[in-house]
Amino acid sequence: MSALVVVQDLVKTFGAGLTETPVLRGLNLTLQTGEVSALLGPSGSGKSTLLTILGTLMQPTSGAHQMLGCDLVRASDSARTAFRNQHIGFVFQFHNLLPDFTALENVIFPAAIRAGRETAVAQARGKDLLARMGLQDRIHFPTAHLSGGQKQRVAVARALMNRPELVLADEPTGNLDRASAGQVMELIAQINQDEGTTFLISTHDEKIAALCARQLVVVDGQVQG
């Protein structure tokens, strides 16, 4: 196993002066390629903050963050935008999909951004991913017509579109009933086996966390486990 993500001494502080809120306080973390990890911790502990920093959507106050050997703290904004398009997939709890687009259009969005258009190759992979998510009969559905569980599965398919090395999922099952949540977790395990994708999944549900190979807990702005 090789280290995919290395984070050292990561500090994130929001606000300044009286409103200063230290959230991450010298956090160290290494994610190995092909690992599926759960990120646990009570609400407000900093799980989302860590995921957005790992996803290059936010800069840390200080510390080092490397992925695939790239120093992502030093990288320019446009370099980080291109990096996350190619190497990182996201699944969020809310506001996940573009509502005016079909399931397939949502799934191939990252590829279309990369290529500048919706290629036939991307469409084929998009359809394949949707089929693997059990959504072969929902390919051309407007996402507004999908159930919560179906939407999250479309989001997982989209996160995988560009064959990223890392998928960051921020409480992907937080909005789902137990059956749908189990289905999503099963699919993640399947993809991990098929494509070797590394997952980091935040949750406050111990049962979901138990489905992951590794459990990490955010405590006092640091990661334990």
Partner: protein
């Protein structure tokens, strides 16, 4: 670009009613723009045709003989001299065909004119006599259009007089008059036409005869006193006059030398038009900008998602600017179509009916209206689009 266009188009079709209203709003602005263009253009044409339309665009006038030598520099006498006994342009006739062949020249009217008296019975009236070439009576002023009785055709022995003069002298069509020139030559003529120009001035003053009759009256077997030239584009006169001078060696003068006040009035009117049209454009720009600002605000979470998926700021800007451009284009085309349809009932090419608006459908500036609207809509969308692209994806998704 193409993919951004797809997303922009989808956003517009996703809320059809809103997009429809917005496009309609833009179309109304474009409609006003086009309507104003047609009205201002038509008005200018009307004023021109009613005023400058009947005068020569370029004229070649014989230089009066040197007054310093003959009359010891008395300007009054000089004036008298030149208006009564016109100087001769001995070579002018040779150039008529040449001037006529110049591109941009619509008509050429060789003339012999001077002063004289019309006598009918015991009544006498002073007139200015204008000898026109047969067949070219309407080359400069549209005499055919002004004739109320008889004909504008001038033959040997015929005279065309104004309605006011006819009334002053109790003259009827077909009656004969005696016309004498300041040279003391007299001839008997038949009234073959009576014209009415409306403005009163020339109706009482000017009598038209054939060029041949004028030659006899002013004892001018050769040469001309004046050559009047009409151009297809009256604004080309300033460029044309020196060209004709260079070609003929005769001094050609543009109408703008004496018609400066017309030009001023026209430019003032054009400025009013620009002002009103600018307001129409500003309305469009404000409408598009506010609609897009609203749209970007509503779509903040989506913008956050797109940024998280690796869409660049440039891509987000493009999506919203293209939305603006599409709105501008659709509104522009719709407004132009509506404008054209609304102007259709108005007669084309300055054939204005009295009592109706002097609207010229050909002066709607359709292309300009569409182009400016497109440009305005694009400019209007840049600011909302840029602020959309600057949205922090984390806060946008967390909303």
């Amino acid at each position: 670009m193409l993919y951004a266009l797809k997303i922009a188009g989808r956003y517009l079709t996703a809320s059809k009613a809103q997009t429809g209203l917005l496009v309609l709003g833009v179309a109304v602005g474009v409609f006003i723009f086009i309507f104003m263009s047609a009205l201002i253009g038509g008005l200018a044409e009307l004023i021109l045709s009613r005023t400058v339309g009947d005068i020569a665009h370029v004229s070649i006038q014989a230089e009066p003989e040197d007054p310093a030598l003959l009359l010891a520099g008395s300007p009054l006498l000089v004036q008298q001299k030149s208006s009564t006994t016109a100087a001769n342009l001995p070579t002018a006739a040779n150039f008529i065909a040449l001037i006529e062949s110049l591109p941009g020249v619509r008509a050429v009217s060789p003339q012999i004119s001077g002063a004289g008296f019309v006598t009918h019975g015991a009544q006498v009236a002073q007139v200015s006599i204008n000898g026109l070439m047969a067949g070219r009576e309407s080359a400069i002023a549209n005499l055919d259009g002004y004739v109320v009785e008889g004909t504008a055709r001038l033959g040997a022995g015929s005279i065309l007089i104004g309605k006011r003069l006819a009334e002053d002298l109790n003259l009827l069509l077909g009656q004969s008059v005696r016309l004498s020139s300041t040279k003391g030559i007299e001839t008997a003529l038949t009234v073959t036409g009576i014209y009415q120009m409306g403005a009163g001035g020339p109706d009482r003053r000017t009598a038209y005869v054939s060029l041949g009759t004028a030659r006899t009256l002013f004892a001018m077997p050769q040469g001309l006193t004046r050559v009047e030239i009409k151009l297809t584009d009256l604004y080309a006169a300033d460029a044309m006059a020196p060209q004709i001078t260079a070609l003929t060696g005769l001094t050609a003068k543009s109408w703008t030398v004496d018609g400066a006040q017309f030009l001023e009035a026209l430019s003032a009117q054009a400025k009013t038009g620009v002002f009103l049209k600018s307001f129409a454009l500003i309305t469009i720009v404000i409408g598009v900008a506010s609609a897009l600002l609203l749209s970007t605000y509503r779509r903040r979470p989506e913008i956050g998602i797109m940024r998280a998926m690796g869409a660049s700021e440039r891509f987000v800007v493009l999506v919203f600017v293209l939305q603006g451009a599409l709105i501008g284009l659709m509104g522009g085309l719709l407004g132009a179509a509506l404008g054209y349809a609304a102007l259709l009932p108005f007669p084309a090419g300055g054939q204005f009916r009295t009592g109706s608006l002097p609207i010229d459908i050909k002066q709607g500036s359709y292309g300009l209206a569409i182009g400016l609207t497109l440009l305005g809509a694009i400019l209007a969308s840049i600011w909302p689009a840029r602020s959309a692209a600057k949205v922090d994806p984390v806060t946008a998704i967390g909303q």
